[in-house]
């Protein structure tokens, strides 16, 4: 049974695209057939994070409008054969996406994949509402910071009201993914703690991705962090989150980033 999973947040810059790419890779590494779909029309970036920016010929809007067939537009990952990318258009505006067209494309993708990951644009406009419209599950990417938590709360409300599932009286299964978490700062009371965020959002936790230099390094080279450095702390956290998505019970730990001494020095500087 194929699942449509939207990766959303409301706020920009919290790690939606990074998380879509990392989890898409992790699912594919486990053997799932995965397609990652970029809904950020006009500001596409998933192609860049996936390292496929030079291979884009057709895009989601071309397929929606019937200019290209779906298999022509799908870009097969060179490293993982069961992972594909459907890029967003860079030029046309968001209104070129229609609900009927997106629904049709997702239905077609369901027939040939296990997971369809929809990378939502920031905001609550058309691109974001269409990315979540047909979702079975949702990952709400949240930074432990007030504006991100507020926007996540708003998005959770939309997932419960404006999706096809919600309108049919069914539930979209929601998971919070906390990214850019700094355990040392949270321990010092400088950052909202995991418990604070979960209590406020009242949504189950999928994983905690620590703040890490490996994430930028991975995007620099166009290789999702789970592929680029699987031993790194964010990669391990993403793999754990992915396994939870598949129903496994994995203890919630925050993989350590550095040695204790480095943390101490870093902590002193940040204080």
């Amino acid at each position: 049974m194929a699942k449509v999973l939207v990766v959303t947040s409301g706020k920009g810059g919290v790690g939606k695209t990074t998380s879509t790419a990392a989890i898409g890779v992790a699912l594919a590494q486990i053997g799932q057939k995965v397609v990652v779909v970029d809904f950020d029309v006009g500001l596409r970036n998933l192609d860049l994070i996936m390292g496929a920016e030079r291979r884009v010929v057709f895009d989601l809007i071309n397929v929606v409008q019937g200019v290209a067939k779906l298999p022509q537009a799908l870009i097969r990952d060179k490293r993982l054969e069961n992972l594909c990318l459907l890029p967003a258009s860079q030029t046309r505006d968001k209104d070129a996406l229609t609900e009927e067209g997106v629904g049709r494309v997702l239905e077609e993708l369901r027939t040939s994949h296990d997971w369809i990951l929809c990378d939502s644009p920031a905001g609550i406009e058309r691109g974001a509402t269409l990315a979540m419209r047909f979702a079975d599950e949702a990952i709400i990417v949240t930074n432990p910071e007030v504006s991100s938590v507020r926007d996540s709360d708003r998005i959770i409300g939309m997932l419960d009201a404006k999706t096809v599932r919600a309108e049919k009286g069914e539930r979209v299964e929601k998971h919070v993914l906390i990214t850019r978490y700094d355990a040392a700062r949270a321990a010092r009371g400088e950052m909202l703690s995991i418990d604070d965020v979960l209590e406020i959002l009242a949504t189950p936790l999928l994983g905690i991705i620590p703040e890490s230099q490996d994430v930028l390094r991975a995007s620099n080279v166009g290789s999702p962090v789970t592929l680029n450095n699987p031993a790194s702390s964010p990669a391990r956290a993403y793999v754990d989150a992915t396994k939870r998505l598949l129903g496994e019970t994995i203890a919630m730990t925050i993989p350590a980033e550095r040695s204790g001494l480095m943390n101490l020095l870093r902590g002193r500087r940040a204080a």
Binding site: R150, L192, R268, A271
Partner: protein, 97 residues
């Protein structure tokens, strides 16, 4: 800087008080309000419009001279409407600010 501080006799600056509890409380108050408002017409705008409509039945209002402030607290919120009324020539309407 940090290493130098180890050797200096000056005490390190006191650490800033934890700010996360403030963040949590601000969010709880804000979201309690926003969740209540979801799908509802904006109460603030509604009150503003109706109050102004009521006042403007009697006085000509300059929309720029009307200030509406809202302060949302945990248990009580206040709505403050500050309307500047022109001094009317007639003796009947002695409007005070």
């Amino acid at each position: 800087m940090n290493i130098l501080r180890l050797f200096s006799s000056r005490p390190a600056p006191a650490p800033a008080p934890p700010s996360a509890p403030i963040a949590r409380e601000r969010l709880q108050i804000l979201l309690a309000h926003e969740r209540g408002m979801r799908g509802q017409p904006d109460l603030l705008m509604l009150l503003r419009e109706e109050i102004l409509a009521a006042v403007s039945r009697h006085v000509t209002l300059d929309p720029d001279k009307v200030i509406v402030r809202m302060d949302r607290g945990k248990n009580v919120s206040t709505l403050e409407v500050d309307i500047e009324l022109p001094n009317l020539p007639g003796p009947k309407l002695a409007a005070t600010g």
